[in-house]
Amino acid sequence: MKNIILFIVPSGAKKRRDALFREIVSCHTSNDYSSVRYITPNNFVITEAKGDFYSFIQTHNSESVFVPFQFQTIRQYAEDLYESCGESGIISDALRVLILTDISGDKSIGYATILADLLKKFTHYLPDRSLTSLRKEIAQLILDEKAADRVLKAIDILQKYKTILESKKLMDREEVLNKSVAGSMKNDISTLIVDGFFDPTPLELRIIDSLMDNTETVLILAEENTGIVNYLQSQQLKITVNRIKAPIPRESAFFYSYPSIEGEVEGLAKNIKKLIIEGTKPWDITVCFPVLSRYLPMVRRTLYKHGIPASISEYSMSSTRPFIALTEMITCIEEDYSRSDFLSFLTSPHFPSIPAAVKDRAVSYSYSAGVIKGKDSWLSIKDTLLNAPRTSFSDEDLELLNRFQEGIDQVVLIFQRLKQEQDTLSFLDSFETALSQFGFFESMESSELGPQGEMFLDKIKGQLEEFRYFAGLHKDTIPHINSPVFYLKYLLSSLSGSEVNRDGIRIIPFELAAGCETKVLFFAGVREGDFPSRPGIDPILPEKVKKELGIPHLEFYLKRQKRYFERLLNVSRLDPFISCPAADGDKVILPSPFLDWEKGVTPPELAIFTNEESLIREGARTLSSQALNVFHDKNMFRSREAFSLLNGRIHSISKGYFSVTDIDFYRKCPLRFYIEKILGLEIIIPPQFEIEARLWGNLAHKTMEYALKDGSIEPDDLDRKIPEGLAKSLKQFPIGDFWARVAKEIFMKLLPAIKEQETNIQLEGFSPFKIEEKISGKIGSLQLRGKVDRVDIKGQGNKGTEAQSLEDSHSDSVILIDYKTGNIDRDSLQLPLYAAMWRESFSEPVEKVGYYSLKDGKVTWYPGKKVTIEDCIQSAIEDAEELYKQMRKGVFTPEPFKADECRYCYHHPLCSKES
């Protein structure tokens, strides 16, 4: 005679399993319980039950050793059973999705995921319906042809999937469950315990049923009004019912309404800390959220701040560092060495075997070289840097650069090999080899990762195995429609992990929390939209068809969440802490409709503080709010020592002679000058395009220099000389064919304007005299130096520059010209100061000075009509002297000469200037 005892336990009952354990222990004479099979829906219940049984034995039998039950989740049971007798291989859920992707011929995963889910539902809820019969029924249920088409197509794919699996002797995990209904494991099980099921699916019920059939004694622990109890009661079985007394159920609870999400999590942590301080054991505290992933990072961080340890069950591994590193590596294989992907890979600590020089310099070198993407840009970093205008390398730097480039070359080589692998299996082989070459597996064992590293390694390796399995699977049946990288990425992204800390509070999904035993429960983030949540939109099967067929549909999910909520209200011994934020940033958040909105209360201020709060208060008490404006401090240099350091710097920049451009720079904005010149700090700006404005400038300058070098002033010659000059400068700054063509075209378009300009200059009687002329001189109290782009002289005919002698040209006047490719600054001191210096060294009077725009070939001449060149020079000298004085005094205020200056400056955050 079969003996079935049903223990009906309400949620919140203390030591709810004890009655069941008592029953078991009473019918066992020894402490060997190995003949008891304990079936649960998930591992969480196993862990709880194990712990409970241990405590029970400790208190009731005081045995120090025993042979425990055979714990199994229903899935483990089915799989073990299947493995012991079944023929086919079992494939994971992730593989199912991939196979479906291939069958459906879809380039995205989303559709296959939905298909997999549909199949799962069919198997669980309609375990004995064949796809063919379902197909027929559904076709009748949907009237619209287009809409019906979708489902029928989907079922066709599923059918194909099944056929393929069969032909390959494979089975997915749902099918394994299904198969296990008929079988039974040959062993000496005398007692079956079923625990933790609320609403088992029809398939699960059948498994339980078949298990019960095969066991003498069956003990079931369940809650009133759950699917399992209803089922048992509906069967014609003789069942002894053992009701455990229920505490009075809580019907609705008040909830804390926090002003923000941060506030809510902070409140959660403070309440937990308070409880722990008051003596509650951390592991007696359970925390859950309707959507855990939304909160998890913030919860982790906040708990850390309060020093509260936690155990987290099930989180997606995709945001963990090793996973990120792997993904970046995969992206590099997939794409063309995009800068940030490749840099992420190169600098990741999870690839320790990448040469140190690469790790150390990858960011700065690639930025300076203007790498955006592409293998070739990486392979030519060294050349690019060596060719770049205005850079110099010390021997040490050069050595480092060499090592860097070698390292990059090696890495790229490995990648190129990987990229060439088309076949999935050989790709995987090379991929694994590459991972070990880069030291990835090794890094998992590094101490920083602790036990997590081991878990990662296991999971990742496991997934690679899966992939191998998949790769070997169906070469002949269904061709892989995507690249190996595509599948690999998906497999890795489907990984989840857990962080176990038995001494910490438990953070678990709310579905699990609803069935747990706990002293304190926190249910946070109970907001509208999240709880109850709507399942994702199903583009295949309409809701009403689902309802008709008897598979879960919207209503089903909503009701289920409501039941979970009712359980959660009662599951803890103390009143649960339920909370909801009122806003996230400026997003308004409403409480869940399950909550009684009238019962939202403002949480009390708890006298639990973090170091952060204590510091903030201390700051508020002792510091003014202005403390941050370090640069507004007019006295940046207070001590004598500071001044001498400053002057040392100024001296080392000027090396005796101060550059005119520096004076001008200082004039534009003293602070900017200080940062960029005195301190020599450069902002690394992400390169956008290889042909940067700077390069154009150099090219244009050089071209003009070459074209006018021999002093020719015959404008018609320019038709030949400009292209020649350009060709020469292109050799100096190689920019590739296309850009060279562009450059040529630009000059050709510019040529008429240049010719016109040159004709004008010629008409005024001037001809090129000196090019790129370095000049210096003592101007007032200043020693200045500079370089004039071009000096033209009047009256010397068309002799070349070389032929000129300064002696015999004393009576002729000159003009000084500066080329510009950017905007012209009319207030610049540059040319007037050049004129002043010229005057110091040479006898020719300066007639005028001008900025020659290479954008349009126009020259802006100085002085204008109202002042003389003399006035112009004089006032420039005075300005320069004053500026220099200020500089030496250490005045580096953020006061730009023109507000416009700030528009093209990156230092706003430092000087608080608006841009």
Partner: protein, 1051 residues
């Protein structure tokens, strides 16, 4: 019954500011529910998520108070409630139609920065391809070279402009409206007396189609500003009728230019389309969409798939009633979507009517508050929709114009009526985009006052704009000071008069340009304030500091970032420390800093004990070096968000960020980093993100919870939309609108979008499309002014510098009130009760004479942090020897171990026979990914092992089934504080002795055995202990079985 509650009719309500528009929408929704409509059949579209949430809240509140039954029913069905923004509505629609739209049904939305990055990368790729001479490179070549050295810049900015304007969403094209110059003009010019002889290339210029000689010819007939010259060019002194000639030449020139620019725009469009294709391809590969795709693809769906309605029907997703809030801000697209959704109903043959359902629409808005033209809102739609509905629905439609205002006091309403009925249109519209004005009536009750409008006009001294703004800001602050605590307002809750507080006041700005100036003035006058939705988040010093930290972590050689860190409150270094540092050895600042710190010094103690890094210790530099090195090594593995928290605490930098805004900014920054990390971004990628945002000015500062805070609110007029304040201040009345257009323009005409690029301002000035665009912008400024004025409940203060210029708010006031200045006096055309004018001096006097009020400063108490001591549970330990196998012998042996254990277990238990061994092992191997040779190789090993074991008798004595034996015997053993669990591979009781066998399956050499036995002794000791207790015996022996060799050793 009020019209808007009549659920049989479709309705458009024009509801001016303060007329309770949101309430009406909520009531309409409820009326529908009450008439028996299912909640899922109603679609209510709001402008923002916030508005959606508020709408739901309001509906529930009303129901709770008035209809409990419906309230409970609605609560149960809340997940079915469709009160959403148009974007999320489109998002849902697209998931439903993912097949038709060929998108991943689980698509995700790329965030703005990311899609921008993707876009830029694509342009780069395409350029590089062009550089290699690949497809369409000629277009690039022309585009790049024609603008000289600015070509690349121009290309990038124009493509960027198009991307931002998103015209592809409506398949834009360039406007080709070039009319050829009549042949006779050319003829006339060709034979113009005196010209052909003087000007080189003249004939060529006129006859050729190209732009040849254009540049060199311009000077003869154009001024600098590119307008026709009036004074003749020296070379052409003698010609007849110079002006006429120049004018005609100008026409030819214009035509040539327009042609050139149109061709250029077409090229740009071509490049743009190339980029777009690639962009869409990339998104498809990633399974993602960008934000603008939502509307665009939905629109395409609804227009290109006629069967959509049937499909929705089949999915039981019918919409019978559509409600739209803020209808005036609808763009052409959104209207097209709404229009499509209702098309089926209107056709009259709709299935709905047969079912007896009368679908309705309900649009509520206020044309006068349409202020999102710059973002694509199209104010024309309001009247267009009205006409259409009238035409389609006839009797079943009605248009309501509400004329009651429940918000503002009479003076404000009078002022508004006065001004806006003059500056806006009142009759028929000359253009559909012109705003019309209907006066409204004051209905606010229970306030004794009439309200107050004050114009504060400062002298138009010769100052720079910046100086003028500073002066104005100061006057503003003085006025606030003089009002606070003195001016009486009516408390809405208490319904009685009380002196106003800071929290009753708001400063509304047209633009944020001078925000800082106002903030500074408020600070100076000790006026508490909060900048609501203030922008410039990334420019805040604390954010810049944290960004520098992230940069530093991603590249310690980033000197600039390190400098910021050293100067920041993290280290507070002096300039001299830094100058000193520069003189040290090393190629980067960080190297210089760490050059004499030994690695061993950089122990992570910095993190373990919170304490000052920034100590007063003599060696500040060394301390900093250690801290930085520790952060770097920590950041390699741990969460960056947590690291930032640590840094702020350990350096005590938090002390410096005690102001609410700074605190909130820091928290916002940490969240941004945390979210990026959660989305799988590496530090480098986070850095990339921060780089893109560094000069992004429009990111809002962190939200500070202002509820109950006694502070003046500062915000833009746009941000104030939907809000109301007892007292409103608006400075900058004379600030010019700055409606200048750039050379690129995307504009809408007849529901289609066009792109024009015209670099010549003189041509733009005459171009109809540019002109209309400008006029529409000016029209929008009127509406913005309307929004501003109608925010005020009781008093409105308008500040500015006197000016008689056009195109500013003051000009509107002048035009609306006839305000004039004669000498020092201001005069209105007619008296408007409650309106007065004050000068800067007046305000100063008021301020000086206002009763002094001292600010009460909140006292801050220090707090103590309780440390937490954590108890430990008894720990569970699993006793096993398998884990190390993997480490020491590789994965293969771990798998083999598993297989051998499983097979031996089966044999011992009798569940498998010897014949089963190989097939079983093969199956497991395959499931572990071993195929063909790899699998066979392993099988051979197994065969060999079994043979060896048989040979040595182990098989018979230990493995085969036995009486009095156990296989895989699990146990739980308590010993001290530890609970051990384990499984004993095999136990055989023989002659009263309990023999424990533990299988070791990996290959082992003879000389390793002793060492191994020692290593496993702990494990076996526990096994022994368990067996001793379990079977209550002291006769226990334990053995290790090396399955590879067949050795059995006691241990």
């Amino acid at each position: 019954m009020e019209n808007y509650l009549n659920t049989d009719k479709s309705i458009i309500i024009s509801a001016p500011a303060g007329s309770g528009k949101t309430e009406k929408l909520a009531r309409r929704y409820i009326a529908l529910l009450q008439s028996g409509v299912n909640v899922e059949r109603i679609l209510a579209i709001t402008f923002t998520d916030k508005a959606a949430a508020e709408m739901k809240q309001r509906i529930l509140r009303i129901l709770k108070a008035e209809d409990t039954k419906l309230f409970t029913a609605l609560l149960d069905n809340m997940p079915l409630m469709r009160v959403t923004t148009i974007h999320s509505f489109c998002g849902t629609l697209l998931r439903r139609f993912s097949f038709e739209a060929s998108i991943d049904p689980n698509y995700r939305i790329e965030d703005a920065v990311e899609s921008r990055m993707m876009w830029e990368e694509i342009l780069y790729e395409i350029l590089m391809e062009a550089g290699k001479g690949e497809r369409g490179h000629e277009i690039f070549f022309q585009t790049l070279s024609e603008k000289g050295f600015r070509g690349l810049d121009y290309l990038r900015s124009t493509i960027g402009y198009l991307y931002q304007k998103n015209p592809f969403s409506l398949e834009a094209s360039t406007a080709r409206d070039i009319s050829p110059i009549p042949g006779d003009i050319i003829e006339e010019l060709l034979s113009w007396q005196g010209v052909p002889e003087v000007l080189d290339n003249y004939e060529d210029f006129l006859k050729s189609d190209s732009i040849k000689h254009v540049a060199s010819m311009e000077k003869y007939f154009l001024t600098e500003k590119k307008e026709p010259r009036k004074r003749s060019h020296p070379l052409l002194k003698g010609i007849a009728d110079y002006r006429d000639w120049a004018q005609k030449m100008y026409l030819v020139w214009t035509e040539k230019k327009v042609r050139q620019h149109t061709e250029r725009a077409e090229r740009i469009e071509g490049i743009f389309v190339q980029c777009l294709d690639k962009y869409n391809e990339k998104k498809r590969a990633r399974g993602s969409l960008d934000f603008s795709d939502l509307e665009h693809l939905s629109f395409k769906m609804l227009t290109e798939h006629p069967e959509w309605a049937n499909i929705l029907y089949a999915f039981d997703e019918k919409t019978d009633h559509i409600l739209v809030d803020e209808f005036q801000d609808t763009n052409t697209f959104q209207w097209a979507i709404i229009n499509s959704l209702t098309e089926e109903w209107r056709s009259g043959m709709g299935a709905k009517r047969e079912e007896g359902i009368k679908p309705t629409v309900f649009f509520v808005g206020d044309e006068k508050q349409s202020v999102y033209y710059f973002r694509g809102a199209n104010v024309e739609i309001f009247s267009r929709a009205k006409d259409r509905l009238q035409e389609w629905l006839g009797e079943e439609f009605c248009f309501d114009e509400i004329r009651d205002n429940y918000r503002s006091l009479p003076a404000i309403i009078d002022f508004a009526n006065h001004v806006f009925s003059r500056i806006m249109h009142t009759g028929e519209k000359p253009f559909p985009w012109i705003t019309t004005y209907t006066t409204f009536n004051a209905h606010r009750s229970g306030v004794p006052d009439r309200g107050h409008i004050e114009l504060i006009l400062l002298d138009d001294d010769e100052e720079t704009t910046a100086e003028a703004r500073e002066k104005e800001a100061e006057t503003l602050a003085q006025r606030i000071r003089s009002l606070e605590g003195n001016y009486q307002i009516t408390d809405k809750q208490a319904r009685q008069q009380r002196p106003c507080r800071f929290m009753d006041m708001a400063i509304l700005l047209r633009k944020r340009t001078h925000l800082k100036k106002y903030e500074e003035a408020l600070k100076k006058y000790h006026i508490p304030y909060v900048a609501v939705k203030g922008i410039g988040f990334y420019q805040e010093p604390e954010v810049a500091m944290l960004r520098a930290l992230m940069f530093f972590l991603s590249d310690p050689h980033d000197d600039y970032s390190l400098y910021i860190l050293l100067k920041s409150p993290l280290f507070l270094m002096d300039e001299s420390d830094i100058l000193n540092l520069l003189n040290s050895e090393g190629s980067s600042l960080f190297e210089k800093l760490t050059s004499d710190i030994h690695n061993s010094d950089t122990a992570a103690t910095l993190f373990d004990e919170p304490g000052p890094v920034r100590s007063d210790s003599a060696d500040k530099l060394a301390d900093a070096a250690k801290a930085l090195a520790a952060w770097l090594s920590e950041s390699a593995f741990a969460s960056t968000a947590i690291l930032i928290e640590k840094v702020l605490v350990n350096t005590k930098a938090w002390m410096f960020f005690h102001e609410k805004q700074s605190q909130a900014n820091i928290r916002k920054f940490i969240r941004i980093v945390e979210d990026l990390e959660t989305n799988g971004k590496s530090i480098i990628k986070i850095r990339d993100f921060l780089e893109r945002t560094a000069d992004k000015n429009d990111e809002a500062k962190a939200n500070v919870n202002t509820e109950g805070m006694d502070a003046v609110r500062i915000m833009t007029i746009h941000a104030s939309k939907g809000l109301e304040f007892p007292i409103v201040f608006a400075p900058g009345m004379e600030e010019p609108f700055g409606l200048k257009t750039g050379e690129n323009l995307v504009y809408e005409k007849g529901g289609r979008f066009f792109f024009k690029s015209e670099p010549e301002p003189s041509i733009r000035k005459l171009d109809e499309d540019f002109l209309i665009h400008q006029a529409r912008e000016e029209e929008e400024q009127k509406r913005l002014f309307y929004v501003l004025v109608t925010r005020a409940e009781e008093a409105l203060f308008l500040l500015g510098r006197w000016s008689t210029r056009d195109k500013n708010f003051l000009a509107f006031i002048r035009q609306g009130t006839g305000l004039e200045k004669t000498g020092d006096d201001y005069r209105f055309e007619s008296d408007i009760e409650g309106v007065s004018v004050l000068t800067g001096d007046d305000v100063k006097m008021l301020y000086e004479h206002a009763p002094a009020r001292s600010a009460v400063k909140e006292r801050v108490e220090p707090v103590t942090v309780f440390p937490l001591t954590i108890q430990k549970q008894a720990s569970w330990k699993t006793v096993t020897g398998t884990i190390e196998v993997k480490g020491q012998h590789g994965k293969d042996w771990a798998v083999m171990g598993d297989i051998i254990h499983r097979i031996f277990e089966g044999i011992s238990k009798g569940t498998i026979t010897e014949q089963d061994i190989i097939p079983r092992a093969a199956k497991i191997l395959v499931s572990k990914g071993y195929h063909n040779e790899a699998r066979d190789e392993k099988l051979d090993i197994i065969k060999q092992e079994v043979a060896v074991l048989k040979d040595r008798g182990v098989w018979q004595d230990i493995v085969l089934p036995k009486d009095d034996s156990f296989t895989e015997l699990p146990f739980v053993l308590t010993s001290g504080d530890t609970i051990y669990t384990g499984r004993i591979d095999r136990m055989i009781k023989k002659d009263d002795v309990y023999n424990i066998y533990d299988y070791k399956t990996f290959p082992v050499k003879e000389d390793e055995m002793d060492y191994l036995l020692k290593k496993y002794s702990a494990q076996l000791r526990i096994y022994k202990k368990a067996v001793t207790k379990l079977f209550n015996t002291d006769k226990v022996k334990s053995y290790v079985v090396f399955t590879h060799t067949g050795d059995v050793r006691e241990a």
